[in-house]
Structure formats: C-alpha cells, structure tokens
Symmetry: C2
Subunit: 248 residues, 2 copies
C-alpha cells in the first residue's frame, strides 16, 4: 500500500493519497482545490492513476479539488449518500467498500460533525498496516464541532465511542485536520486521552461541553459549503488558480 | 516501533519521536524549544521514557529543546562529533548506533548543509519499516542550503548521491523540514525526481545551482545558532515560555 499524508497549511487540512503497489490505481481523500497541482504532480511522479476522489464530508473550511481532478484525470467523485452533493458520481454509506487495486476503503457512517460524515478503514485486509481516516469525527485529542450542517453532539458521541473505538486500540488514526503539528494517533490513545471523548468523559459531559463552545463560524463557510455542494466547480474565482485548462 | 512525526509550523520543522513497543524507551530527534510541552505530553501519554535527544545538525532556523528536555527528563543529548556543541553528552559519527530499546538509529555522516550533518537509519534490523531521517541533507524534492556553517555543495552532492541514494529505492525518507505540505518521500522518488540532485543532475549542475541561489539568511540565524551551541540553554527569554521549572 502506498499511503501519503499531505497538508494544506492555510486550512490545516490533511489530504490522503492511497495507492496500490501492484496495479498503481490510486484514490485521493479530501483533496484541497489550492493544492491540486502539488497533488497531481505527486500522483504522476509515483506512477499512479487516480480512479477516485473521496470526501469524508461536505467541508466548511476549504473547497474540494474533486471537480477539477475529475476534469483533469477522469477520477470519479465519491461522497456521502446521506448529504453529499448531487454533482458527485457515487454515494457511499455504511459498509460500502471502495477498491483501489488491492487496497480497500471500507466505509463507516460516523455522523455528528455533519449529518453525512464518513470514516474509512484503509488497508489490505486486516494487517497491522490498517488505519482509519476519521475526517472531522475524531481528531488528535479532539473532534469536529457540531453546531452546523446537521451537527449533533449526541450522534458524534455514538459514532466515536461505539463505532470508531470498536476498531481496537492498535488501529492507527489519520484525521482530516490538526492544528498543533500532531499528524496521527491511535484508537487506544484517544480512548484514554481524548479530553472530550475519552477517559472519564460521558455522553452527558460531551454534549454539555460541545454546547458551551460557542465557536465563531469558520472563516470560509459561506464560500466553501456552496462550492463543495458543486464539487468545487462553483465558477468562483480562485485567486491562486485563474483558469486552469479543462481537459478530458 | 513507535514512530511519530511532529511539526512546528513557525519554522516548518519536523521532529521525530521514536519509541520501542517492548521496553517503552524513546528518543526524540530535532525537538523544537517552543513545542516541548506538546512533545513531552505525547511521550507521557504513550507511556514512553525518553532516554536521548538527537540532533541531525546545529540548526539555524529554530532553537533546540534538548537542554530543557535533559533538565526535565534526564535524556542524554546526542549531537554530531564533527561540529556539535560542547554542552552535549555524546558525539556521534559515521557508523555509531544509538539503541532505543529494540529500535536502532544507525548514524550516517552526511555533511554538506553543515559540516557535521548526520542522517539516521531507523528500524529494527532490515525490515520494510526501516526509514532514514535525513535532516537537511535531503528534503522532499529539495535539499538544505550550503552557504553557511561549513556548507559545501560538493560534499552535499556526495552525501546524497553516494550515501543516501545507496540505501535503495524502497527506503522511506523523513526530512527535517518541508514547506509545501509533503511530509515524506522515498529514495527512489528523489533519485528520479529531485530537481537538484536526481534525474539528469550532475555534481557540476548541482554546485552551479547552489552557488546561484543567493538566499537571504534565515530569519533566526543570529539567535538560533548561538542558542543551539548552548543546547538551547542560552538564557535568552523565550516569549512563549517564561520560566519553566527546573527539575531533576
């Protein structure tokens, strides 16, 4: 398995490039529009062929590169069946498996940050290399906010503690964001040390804590959500990328 | 093997925490002074005991946490024998092996960015998990500058193409910095795609390219180099960390 974590510093977003050593098929999870040239150069240099883009959810803090990647490479856009945009090629729900050559992404529905949040267990069938991409459901010692886009703290509690924690303490966890320079964790660490969801936390303490956060809205929400509902193809001027050529 | 990559966004520095699953011994490579609380919290939460701090070189862009980590945990400070600071506990040179429980760090002398730059092959004896920490000698599609602290482009060419490239295409590479959100690479990729040191590059094209860079000095060089020559214990006020307690 080829597995690369990529970082967009402006939005603190992690993008994941997942490839199959044998077939050279690849998928990219949560690609960021401003990073498309970097990411497609890496795909080329690794000798991979992108077959899919995959979104963990409809993002409020950055715009997806999915639409433009589809135009440039033909990669199919995969999103949540629950609340994903209609422009996508395919909807995913609990139990769906995305094949990337010999590598699989097994879909877990983990709502709570948004109504349609997905996580993906990535691997080649139960080896110690298996890992879970948790989107904004579970972050390193944190979690996504629950105050918009169908967010629901009670549901997030269930998604994390019943579904993600059940993957076992050794499971490696790769989130969609980090703001402190920590790029991965494990289920065991979060079960023990996550200050919101682990240790002594209960559903009640978690729901109360999330209700008391009163966070300001994400800076880009008014731009990002509509743009992401159009797979990033909203026609809005991207100051860093004026008019890339349409191919394919 | 426990292996964690940590990032300091201000200096774009990667720090590596390396631990032994069995003995819980750990070493930290290139720790950044401003991140000491984050890093020691992670050490604690993973149930590890730091035995060593290790520097790939005397940094010009950030101040090491080595001295303060030594005070707080007793971890011995390991630096280059060629040009490391006298305040350190031990000097390392080509072939020296640092044991971290069952994990080893095998020292490679890779001068050129500075006169004393070291790389470390980290692993448990020739498994596919083996990886090399390259400091500033080899970065993702780049390399460290060669215009101060004993920098020498000809030597860096030799270090990378004769010593690091000899580790084999499959070897995973973890650098000390990245500025574009790419956090790792492989020897094979750099041998093929590094625009300075790979592909069609020759010693002559590399030396000419490096001589033509004319980079401004690192912002922190006048502070960082003297501070690092004192293992970070220069007594200079750290605005983010006023007066941590001295322990042990």
């Amino acid at each position: 398995m080829i597995f690369r974590q990529l970082f967009d510093a402006e939005s603190s977003t992690f993008t994941y490039l997942i490839g199959c050593e044998r077939t050279r098929a690849a998928a990219i999870v949560d690609p960021v529009r401003e990073q498309i040239d970097r990411d497609l150069a890496l795909v080329r240099e690794l000798g991979l062929a992108l077959t899919n883009t995959v979104e963990t959810h409809v993002h409020a803090d950055h715009v997806t590169a999915a639409g433009e990647i589809r135009r440039r490479t033909g990669a199919r856009t995969l999103v949540s069946r629950a609340d994903g945009p209609a422009c996508a090629d395919e909807g995913l729900a609990e139990g769906d498996v995305v094949s990337v050559g010999d590598v699989t992404l097994r879909t877990l529905a983990t709502p709570g940050h948004t109504a349609g949040c997905l996580s993906f267990v990535v691997g080649q069938g139960g080896t110690s290399e298996d890992r879970v991409l948790t989107g904004d459901a579970l972050l390193v010692r944190g979690c996504g906010r629950t105050d918009f886009q169908g967010g629901d703290s009670g549901k997030l509690w269930g998604s994390v503690t019943s579904k993600l924690f059940a993957l076992g303490d050794a499971m490696l966890v790769f989130p969609a964001h980090d703001y402190r320079g920590l790029n991965m964790t494990t289920i065991g660490e979060e079960r023990r040390w996550n200050p919101r969801l682990g240790g002594e936390a209960t559903r009640e303490t978690f729901v109360a804590l999330m209700a008391a956060l009163h966070l300001p809205p994400p800076k880009k929400i008014d731009e990002a959500v509509p743009a992401n509902r159009a797979c990033g193809d909203d026609g809005a001027a991207d100051p860093r990328r004026p008019g890339p050529p349409v191919q394919g």
